[in-house]
Symmetry: C2
Subunit: 320 residues, 2 copies
C-alpha cells in the first residue's frame, strides 16, 4: 500500500508498504481522509523520536474485524491512545496517561497517512451519517479542544483570551464560544481573522491585549512569545491553559506566577464522544478550516505547502 514514512527526521512516500495485519482485538481500517497536525510537523523536526507511518487524525471504514464481523463497513474515527487498562493511570480513569501506551502515528504504532491502519476495536467510534468526512476528520483535534472544559470550569462571566488562531486555536474558539463566555482571540493572519468573523468571534492583535485583565488565557501557539503574552494578559489568581507542546526548554519569568498566584494547566487529548455530539448538532464547523486537500501521493508537497504562514488545515485524501 501507499504510506508516508518517517525515519531520522526524513519523510518519504512509499508505495510498497505491507498492509498491516490486525492483532487480536484490533480491526483493519481503510483510511478515507486524514489531517496534518502541528504534532506531525514536530515529529518531522525530531522533537520526539518516532519511526514509522505518520498521522493520527483520520476518518476511515472498518474492512476487517475478526472479533466483531458485524462492525465491518462502519465509518469510524479512532481514539489515538492504545492503552493497557491495568496500570495506575488507567485505573485512575486517566487512560490517555497509560504508562505503557502506544499512540497512533506518534509512539510505536503505525499511523493514518496510509491506505490502511490497525487500531483496537474499542478505540474505533462510529460516525453518525449526518457528519461529513470533512468534519469527522476533525474529531481528534476537536476532542483536544474540548479537553479544556473537562479540566477547568469556564464560567459564562469569564473574560477568556485565546492566544493563537491557527488550527487548534480556531477549534478551541468554536467550542469556547458555546459557553457564552466573554471571548477574544489573538489572530495575526487575515485568513484566521476572516474565519473568526464568520463565526462572530471577536479577535484582536497582540499589541492590543489588555494587561492582567483576563480570567482565563488559553496558550495555543507553543511559542515562548505566546507564553509570555499569556503571563502578561492573565489577572492575579487567573488560569492559563497550556494547549501546545514546546520544543526544548523554555525560559520564562516564574516569579510573577508565584506573586500573582497564577494556575497553569497542561492540556492534551480529549474524549471523542462529546466532539461527535457537537459535530452532529452542527454547533461547530471545523471543515471551514480546510485550506487545501492533497492526494496521499502528494503528501510531501502538502507538508511543504503547510510551511506558509496563515495556512489552516491541510488534508490528505486516500482515494485519488
Amino acid at each position: 500500500m501507499q504510506a508516508i514514512w518517517l525515519q531520522n527526521k526524513k519523510l518519504s512516500y512509499k508505495t510498497d508498504v505491507k498492509i498491516p495485519t490486525p492483532n487480536n482485538g484490533e480491526a483493519l481500517v481503510k483510511v478515507l481522509l486524514a489531517g496534518i497536525c502541528a504534532t506531525d510537523l514536530q515529529l518531522i523536526k525530531g522533537y520526539y523520536p518516532y519511526t514509522g507511518i505518520l498521522g493520527h487524525e483520520f476518518v476511515g471504514e472498518i474492512v476487517q474485524a475478526d472479533n466483531a464481523p458485524e462492525r465491518i463497513g462502519e465509518r469510524v474515527v479512532g481514539e489515538i491512545n492504545i492503552v493497557c487498562g491495568k496500570c495506575a493511570n488507567c485505573l485512575r480513569n486517566h487512560p490517555t496517561h497509560c504508562k505503557y501506551r502506544d499512540v497512533l502515528g506518534i509512539i510505536n504504532h503505525n499511523g493514518a497517512f496510509a491506505e490502511y491502519l490497525c487500531l483496537p476495536l474499542k478505540n474505533l467510534i462510529q460516525v453518525p451519517d449526518s457528519i461529513s468526512n470533512e468534519d469527522a476528520v476533525f474529531t481528534e483535534p476537536l476532542a483536544a479542544a474540548l479537553q479544556i472544559q473537562q479540566q477547568i470550569i469556564i464560567h459564562p462571566n469569564d473574560k477568556v483570551l485565546i492566544i493563537g488562531a491557527g488550527r487548534l486555536g480556531q477549534l478551541i474558539a468554536q467550542t469556547l464560544v458555546l459557553t457564552g463566555c466573554n471571548l477574544q482571540v489573538v489572530a495575526r493572519y487575515q485568513q484566521q481573522q476572516q474565519l473568526l468573523n464568520e463565526h462572530k468571534i471577536a479577535w484582536l492583535l497582540e499589541q492590543d491585549i489588555a494587561h492582567h485583565r483576563f480570567d482565563i488565557v488559553i496558550e495555543a501557539t507553543g511559542s515562548t512569545t505566546g507564553f509570555n503574552l499569556s503571563i502578561q494578559a492573565i489577572r492575579p489568581r487567573g488560569i492559563i491553559v497550556l494547549k501546545s507542546t514546546y520544543k526544548d526548554n523554555m525560559s520564562a519569568n516564574f516569579s510573577s506566577i508565584v506573586v500573582n498566584e497564577i494556575t497553569m494547566v497542561g492540556s492534551r487529548c480529549g474524549s471523542f464522544a462529546p466532539a461527535l455530539r457537537l459535530l452532529e448538532d452542527k454547533l461547530v464547523n471545523p471543515s471551514a478550516l480546510i485550506t487545501n486537500k492533497f492526494p496521499l501521493s502528494q503528501a510531501l508537497q502538502a507538508f511543504e505547502y503547510m510551511q506558509q504562514p496563515g495556512i489552516l488545515k491541510v488534508l490528505l485524501q486516500m482515494d485519488n
Copy 2:
C-alpha cells in the same frame, strides 16, 4: 530609633531614624521580635527594587491608636498587605492582589526591623495570651504555608512531596502532616532532617525521589533544581504548587507539563486567623525552627550568619 535600612542593595544599621507617625486609620506598633525571611535576602540582592526599613515578620505591641485607644497595649501580629479595598482584585475578595497595595518592608512601606512600625488597625490581629512571642513571630510564614490548602484540596490519600526543608518547607510540612496525607520531605541538611524526625515527618534525599509517583508536589526551594525535581516527581494529572519566587527567568521543559497534563499553582500570602488557631491549639511548633536570635543592633551580623547552609530561622530581638 534604631532600624535596618536597605538602599541600593546595601543594608545599614541606623540609630537616628525618626519614629514614624501613624496616618489616619493606622496604629503605632512597638516591635518586640522580628523574623528574617528568604524574601528579605532576595530584596538585598536586588530582585525587587525597595528602599526603606526591611522586615515583614513580627510580633509587637500597639502603643498609639488615635481611632481605637482601647486597643493600646494589645500584643499583635500584622497582615503585611496594605490594600485599597476598592480595586477589582479587592472586590473579588483577593485583597493580597490589590492593584495599589503597599507591602510592609517589601513595597513602599517601612518594615519591622526597627523599634517601631505603622500599620492600619485592621491589619493588626491580637495574639492570644497562650502563644509565646517566639511562636507568634511565625504567624506570617505559617499563614503562607496554609495558603496552599486555601488553593488546592489535599486529600488524606494523596502522596505529597515537599521539595526543600528550610524555613518555609518545615512550616509547610508541619501544616500538611495535619491532613493525614502520605507526606515526604526532601531534606539535605542534618538540622532539617532532625527537626522533621522530631515531628515524625518522613524525609528523603533528592536521589531517592520516586519518578512520576506523587499526586502533589510542593516546590519550596525557589531553585531551577527544585523545579526540575518537581517535574520529575509529579504523576500525570498531578498538581505542583510553586511556593517560592524565582530570581530572573528560569529555563524549564514545558512539554512534559502539557503531555502529562500537570497543573501548576503559584502560591503566596495567606490569612493570619487560621495560623493563629493552629498556634493556639499547639498543633504546630514553629519556634523549634529558631537557630539563633540577634539584637537589632547586630542585624548585619545576623544576615551574614544566615548565609551558612542549613540555617533555619534567625530572629531579631528589639529589647536588648
